[in-house]
Amino acid sequence: MRMPDAAKPPVLRAHEIHVRFGALHVLRGVSFDLARGEGAVLLGANGCGKSTLLRTLNGLATVESGRVDLNGRTITDAPSRVLRAARRQLGYVFQHFNLVPQLSAHQNVLFGAMGQRRFGVLSVANAFARTEDRERAMQCLERVGLADRATHRPAELSGGQQQRVAIARMLMQAPQVVIADEPIASLDPKAGREVLELLWRIVEEEGLSLLCTLHQLDLAQEFGKRIIGMKAGRVVLDAASPGIDRADLDALYQGAVRVDAAPTPQEAAA
C-alpha cells in the first residue's frame, strides 16, 4: 500500500469502507487517501464496486461501516448541512452526463452553482440568476470550447459535447476534488480522448484532485500518475503509474473479480 505523503495532507480520505446491498457485500474494507492536486485512475472489472465506492464518497450511497473524511472532516453520517457543504467540494462527472434534457447548455452549467446559492434553484435559474453568475457560466462554457452552443439543449449536442457541458457544470461548481465515473465510456475513442485531455487539463489548471474510473488500460497508464486497482470490493493495487507492470493491471480482470461472484471472507473460511 502507498503511504500518505506527509508533505501533502490528504484532501479526501476513505477509511475501511464497507457497503452492503442486502446480502451482497459490495465494498469490503476500502481505504485510500487522495492528496491535494493528485490525479488518480481507479481501475477494476465490471461489478467490482468502483461506482459504489465513488458514490459513497459524496454520500449518494450509504456505508455500512467505515468513514469518508474531506479536509479532515468526517462526512459519513454527518448532518445534511455538513453533507451538502462537502458535496459542494466534490464535483461529479457521470458516464451518462446527467444533464437536464429540457434545459439549455448554459442553464445546465449555471446549475453547477445550485448548492452554493442561498435560494438554490431560484438563485441559479436563468430568469433570476445574478449577472456575474450568468457570465461565469458562459466563461465555463468557453473553457470547454462550447460558448457557441450555449442555447442548445443536450439532445442537440454530440455525446462528447454533452460531457464537456457537464465538465463546465463541474467547473461552475468550483470544487476541490473531481470524481469522474467512467466519463468517456459512452464516447467514441476520439471524442473520449478529447474529453479526457480536457478533463485532465482543467483539473491541472485549477489544481484539483481527481479520482477517475476508466476501462481503458492504455489511457489509464497515460493519464493517471497513480493507479488504484480494485477487485471484488477490495483495493488490490495502489501505485504510482510509470512503473506499474502491465501484467499487474491485467490481473485485475482475471479470476473472481465481481463482488457478486466472489465469496465473502466468512464464506471462504466456512
Partner: protein, 265 residues
C-alpha cells in the same frame, strides 16, 4: 423441411387454472344475472324505441328562445371547470411529490399522500357534489369543490407516476452539487415532467367540463341545473338546445386542448 425435432412441441393452449375457471364462471353468472335484472324484453325495447322517437320529434327543432340564460349557465359551467381544475392541479403538485417514490420524504408520508389521492379518486364526482351541496349549499361553489376533488384524484396520481418515471441521473447530478431536495425537484424533476403534466392538466379540463355539466343535475351550479329543469318540465326542445350548446362547448375545447398539446409535446 428438416426432420421433426426430438423435443416434444409446446402445447397450443394451456389449460386454464382452477382459479381462472372459478373467475370465468362467476363472471358468466354475474353477466346473466345483470341481463335478467334489467328485465330486458322485446316489448320494453320496442316501447323504449317509440318513446325515444317521441322525444326526438318533440326536441326538433331545438328552442333557443332562452339563449341568454343558457349562455350564462354554460359560462358558469366552464367557470366551475376551469377554477376547479386550476386549484385541483395546483394542489396535486405537492400531493404528487409527497406520493412519488423518488420525491417523498419518507414512507409514512408517502402512504398517507397516496391514500388521500386514492380517496379523492374513488369517490365519484357526483357524490362529492352531493356532499359539498350539503356542506356549502346549492350553487357553483359546491361544483368547484367537487371538481377540485375529482381533479386531485386523477391528476395527482398521473403527476406522481410521471415523477417516478423521471430519469435518476440529472437529479443525482444536482444533488451532487450540494443542492437541497426542493431545488433538485424544481431543477431536474419538474422540467422533465412539465410537458406531460401540461397534457394531463389539459385533459383534466376536458374531463371537468363534462363532469361540471352533470354536477348541475344535483344542484351544484351551471348548465346542468337548466338541463334537469327543462327535462323535468318536458320542454324537450329547450333541453335539446342545451345539449347542443354543451356539445359545441365540449368539442370546441377538446379541439383547442389537443392543438395545444401537440404544440407542447
Amino acid at each position: 423441411m428438416s426432420a421433426p425435432s426430438r423435443h416434444s412441441l409446446p402445447p397450443r393452449m394451456r389449460m386454464p387454472s382452477a382459479l381462472a375457471w372459478v373467475l370465468m364462471v362467476t363472471f358468466a353468472a354475474f353477466f346473466l344475472q345483470g341481463l335478467y335484472g334489467a328485465e330486458v324484453s322485446v316489448d320494453r325495447l320496442l316501447r323504449g324505441a317509440t318513446n325515444f322517437v317521441r322525444f326526438v320529434s318533440l326536441a326538433i327543432p331545438p328552442d333557443f328562445a332562452r339563449w341568454e340564460t343558457i349562455g350564462w349557465a354554460m359560462l358558469e359551467t366552464l367557470n366551475i371547470a376551469v377554477v376547479g381544475v386550476t386549484f385541483g392541479c395546483l394542489l396535486s403538485i405537492p400531493l404528487a411529490l409527497l406520493a412519488a417514490r423518488n420525491t417523498a420524504p419518507n414512507g409514512v408520508i408517502r402512504f398517507v399522500a397516496r391514500q388521500l389521492i386514492a380517496i379523492a379518486r374513488t369517490i365519484p364526482d357526483l357524490i362529492w357534489a352531493l356532499i359539498f351541496v350539503v356542506a356549502v349549499g346549492l350553487g357553483p361553489l359546491a361544483g368547484i369543490l367537487a371538481i377540485i376533488m375529482d381533479t386531485v384524484g386523477f391528476v395527482a396520481r398521473f403527476y406522481s407516476e410521471r415523477f417516478e418515471e423521471v430519469q435518476k441521473g440529472p437529479a443525482e447530478a444536482l444533488t451532487s452539487t450540494g443542492a437541497g431536495r426542493l431545488s433538485v425537484i424544481a431543477g431536474a424533476i419538474l422540467p422533465e415532467s412539465f410537458a406531460s403534466m401540461t397534457a394531463t392538466s389539459l385533459y383534466s379540463v376536458e374531463k371537468a367540463i363534462r363532469s361540471a355539466v352533470t354536477l348541475g343535475l344535483v344542484g351544484a351550479g351551471g348548465i346542468g341545473v337548466e338541463l334537469s329543469t327543462a327535462m323535468r318540465l318536458f320542454q324537450y326542445d329547450q333541453a335539446a338546445a342545451i345539449i347542443l350548446v354543451v356539445l359545441v362547448a365540449v368539442i370546441g375545447f377538446e379541439q383547442l386542448s389537443s392543438s395545444i398539446r401537440k404544440r407542447i409535446i
